[in-house]
Amino acid sequence: MTMTISPGSGVRSLKDRLLGRPLPLPGEPRAVVRLHDVTKTYPNGRTALRDVDLAIPEGDFVFLVGPSGAGKSTLIKLLIRDELPSHGSVFVDGLDVARLPRREVPKLRRRIGIVFQDFKLLPRKTVRENVAFALEVTGTPGRRIRPAVDRVLALVGLTNQADQLPSQLSGGEQQRTAIARALVHDPRLIIADEPTGNLDPLIAWEIIQLLLRINELGVTVLMATHNAEVVTALRRRVVALEEGRIVRDEPRGAYHHDD
């Protein structure tokens, strides 16, 4: 698979034009994710994040790296409001996540596409049904579902497997189904927690390429990963956590600290 990787900035307006979104104001691009002074201590007393400050401008592609237990998944859980910060503020796409009333959490989740290591597909629904599910359960009118699903299935390259069950798919295809589902709400932000953790290296590359392509369409991507080879090869923005602190934030980083 070959694909040219260009910086997101030039292409962003394409997606904006496609979606009819207003152009961002000149100057500093809007931050899709902004954490300020965030600390997270779990009820058992374990502190998973300490004094984290992080801003991710629209269109960024960010790798979140760090040893096991560094707090990557915790940071992601704060963004999707699976957990609340003990201290500090979290903004996602303009929403004050920590202060969001409970009934507005679905609104936040619809603005984010979420992808996990274990795919989280429904085993008894086909690829198409799994993707359509995300629209059905959020009250999308029936006639709008089919075209939207077809569009994202084409985008992830699963048009031909649309009527297969997850059990009849390879791991890579299952993850692409999950990505299609994450995209079907037209989110501005995709958050992926070790999306390639269950895949062998070649397939992992395919998934990364797909996420890069989605990023080129203007969607911001934040991806937690242990995949050193991919991170180092791509030289994108790398945010490294260690024991809950951001120890490194480089625009063209590698997996390990460059000597």
Partner: protein
């Protein structure tokens, strides 16, 4: 709103059939519990009818003076009928009393000695049947003060004892029914909880993609209601099938009881349907709530 309803009902229907085994297990449990509940309900109704039957046996009998004028007897009868707690007042003439006495002797196979009597020694009487045995004492006192009344047999002690026993039995019946109801509630709710637990993944995914609580909750609630409805219909079907043979077996028993079979059947149908729908709905509401509160 309409789309939401259509969505919820469709998802409920799908949910039921996609997890057919679990749904059928839940329905079977529901049916079993409803049969149990209906069985105890019927027993309770039988018990109450039996107790009422016993209590209605209580009657106050006033023997009348031989010289009591018919008009006064009739007036007394009417006054008694107007008393609260009195069900009926029957006048038994001297001749009827004698005839009854003879019948009783004949039934016992004894020689009829009354033909040796040259005059009827029995008294005419008023038999006051009570709807509420608690008024027995009051009626007895009232009758004793009537001029035309010769004597009233004292039954107050008997009434007290009967009432003590019947009240204890009533209470016991109610307690048993409540306990059975609680057991049924517990088992059904837990069965539904298990059925929902089997779909925790589905709920998690719904939350992840931004489904609102209502979209998550109502399909499950409808599905629970559906399980409850199905369970009650199966239960009513089973009871309908069983009614004929059981009814034949118990017919004589029921006939002497003040039990309206028609209204009992209606009550049982209402109880089974309400319990089925209620348990199904409340059970799934509670079960889903656990996941939504996180």
């Amino acid at each position: 709103m309409l789309r939401f309803l259509a969505f919820s009902l469709r998802r409920a229907w799908q949910g039921f059939w996609r997890n057919a085994l679990m749904s059928l297990a839940a329905t079977a449990t529901m049916t079993l519990m409803l049969v149990l509940l209906a069985g105890f309900w019927i027993l309770q109704a039988g018990l109450l009818a039996g107790l009422e039957f016993v209590e209605q046996k209580v009657e106050v009998v006033a023997d009348l003076r031989d010289d009591a004028p018919a008009a006064e007897i009739d007036a007394l009868r009417r006054r008694l009928l107007a008393e609260p707690g009195v069900r009926s007042v029957d006048y038994v003439s001297k001749e009827e009393a004698l005839a009854r006495f003879r019948e009783r002797l004949a039934a016992q196979g004894e020689e009829d000695l009354t033909r040796y009597l040259d005059e009827n020694p029995l008294r005419a009487s008023l038999e006051v049947k009570l709807a509420d045995p608690r008024v027995a004492g009051e009626i007895t006192d009232r009758l004793r003060n009537e001029r035309i009344v010769e004597s009233v047999i004292d039954i107050e002690n008997l009434v007290d004892r009967v009432l003590t026993v019947t009240n204890i039995l009533r209470m016991a019946g109610a307690v048993v029914l409540v306990v059975v109801g609680l057991i049924v509630l517990f088992i059904v709710v837990n069965t539904i909880r298990l059925a929902v637990l089997a779909r925790a993944d589905e709920i998690e995914i719904m939350r992840l993609v931004g489904a609102s609580d209502a979209f998550i909750r109502w399909p499950f609630v409808f599905e629970g209601a559906f399980v409850g409805l199905l369970g009650s219909l199966v239960t009513l079907g089973l009871l309908g099938l069983a009614a004929e043979p059981i009814g034949r077996f118990l017919f004589d028993f029921f006939r002497i009881l003040p039990l309206q079979l028609g209204s009992l059947a209606r009550d049982v149908a209402i109880v089974v349907l309400a319990a089925g729908l209620g348990l199904g709905t409340v059970g799934s509401w509670i079960s889903v709530r656990t996941y939504l509160l996180r």
